[in-house]
């Protein structure tokens, strides 16, 4: 499996797309496949202040409820309202339409704690 270029990854299977000091967050294709059919996503509140790697919401699939550990810290600028009506969007387009939320980065230095696409590939190959 190869990951889309230009993204960073966490060990908890979230991806981050950075644009300046703003980052888009979602879960990986590997994560959505492992979870199965997603029926509900609980996202952080607009304006909430997130700490890197803290549990800030949940993804509920027909199999389990899993925590979302935010891969980056900062202030929530936007959440994906489409997931409310159509949570399966995460299964269909994990890297595009199924994004979770947008963050104004608190500290760009935190990005150093994340994995490159190759490193993430190695992580899931070992799993």
């Amino acid at each position: 499996m190869s990951q889309p270029a230009g993204l960073l990854f966490s060990k908890d299977h979230e991806w981050v797309k950075v644009d300046g000091d703003v980052a888009l967050v979602g879960i990986t294709d590997y994560a959505q496949q492992s979870l199965g059919d997603i029926v509900y996503v609980e996202l952080p509140r607009l304006g909430a202040s997130l700490q890197q790697f803290a549990s800030i919401g949940v993804v509920e699939s027909v199999k389990a409820v899993s925590d979302i550990f935010t891969p980056v810290g900062g202030e929530v600028l936007e959440v994906n309202a489409e997931l409310e009506a159509d949570p399966a969007l995460v299964n269909r387009e994990p890297f595009d339409g199924g994004w979770f939320y947008k963050v104004k980065l608190a500290d760009v230095g935190e990005l150093a704690n994340l994995l490159s696409p190759d490193a993430y590939d190695r992580l899931i190959a070992e799993a």
Binding site: A48, E60, S61, A64, V65, D67
Partner: protein, 453 residues
Amino acid sequence: MYTPHTEQDVAAMLAAVGAASLEELVRVPDEVALRAAPDVPPHHAEIDIAARFAGFADRTHAGEYLAFLGAGAYRHYIPPVIAALAMRGEFLTSYTPYQAEVSQGYLQTIYEWQTYVALLTGLDVANASVYDGATALAEAAIMAINATGRRSLLVSRAVHPSYRRVLCTYAAGIGAAVDELPYAPDGTTDGTRLAAALADERYAAVVIQSPNFFGTIDPLAPAHAAAVKATKTLLIGVTAEALALAALATPASWGVDIAVGEAQSFGNAVAYGGPHVGFIATTETHLRRIPGRLVGRTVDRAGRTAYVLTLQAREQHIRRERASSNICTNQAHCALVATIYLAAMGKTGLRDCAAHNVARAAALRARVTAVAGVSAAFVAPAFNEFVVRVPGGAGAVLAALRKKKILGGVDLGRWYPELADGILMTATELTTAADIEQLGTALEEVVRDVARV
């Protein structure tokens, strides 16, 4: 599946705590160990035991007293159909089923209970029940705290004092603050400073009870409800007397986000401390935060109606410490009793019964306030209970009434020092005109005696 510990497990655990054997671990110290057999009478024949216990039962004189007690536990007529159905073995022997979907009948009764609660409250979703009205309120507060990310609660002083104590116990455990909202001279919650109190968006929820602890009908006024909504604070509506829901505008209609309360009035006897049955209902927005079990209706492969436990992924046995509530069960049998009661009464029967309560309470209020020196404490409309002020203090008057075999009401001074002369009196459909006259006459004598002292 139950997996016993192996000998190796036991040895490892004993080593960890430094005990040589299980016997040593649980050894009773000599100074407290029982040395001789306790002095207990020898065995008796079943017939003798039955006779002895009948003798104990005869020492109870509750039936000789005329009661005007309420304050969260209400004496209502219980139709015999309830015992005939609720005592069936299929219902009486089942606990919340672990292989739930095998018990379609039980799930159907829970689904019907949820439906009744949703109809009575006007809200979208209700759970399978919780322990009682007080814990229902505490669970609703946790829902509000999780939904808003705020850690303070603003609670009317006219909410049942016991409910507030349970709420404070839960709040202390989760580090939440509970502030009070005063009541106005008319016996309703004073909302004049509500908007100012909410302005800094500190409160997760405002808690109001209607009818409130004084019996007063106390929905939040539309202007105040707007202030609650404007600050994204949730409104929790409490009802300790569920029968009132059949007579009053639904909690949903006065803007509550979560309605909770006590449904003992629906077919469950007034017992010494319970069991009671709590209900909790909310809007679809907060569906996933509701605690406990939820039963849903669907169809099976052949298209037949089937009932299932649904949204279990949020419950504690799946989510462990991240679950929002540790409730994994419900008050199934009491909820079943309430469900049978509601089905037996029907919409018209329930409304008629509620109307009788209003009429009997009005008659009682008119009679007791006709006694010289006795006055109504509050002017706002009531459901089936109300507060009167009496000369000489509530405690003395109630004690004198007890000597006349009348339980005249509840002494409010216990919770409200400013109402030490206040008695909360209740009438239901079981209160007769003769009962009312008996209390009225007794109260005249008692008040006259108090005046003479």
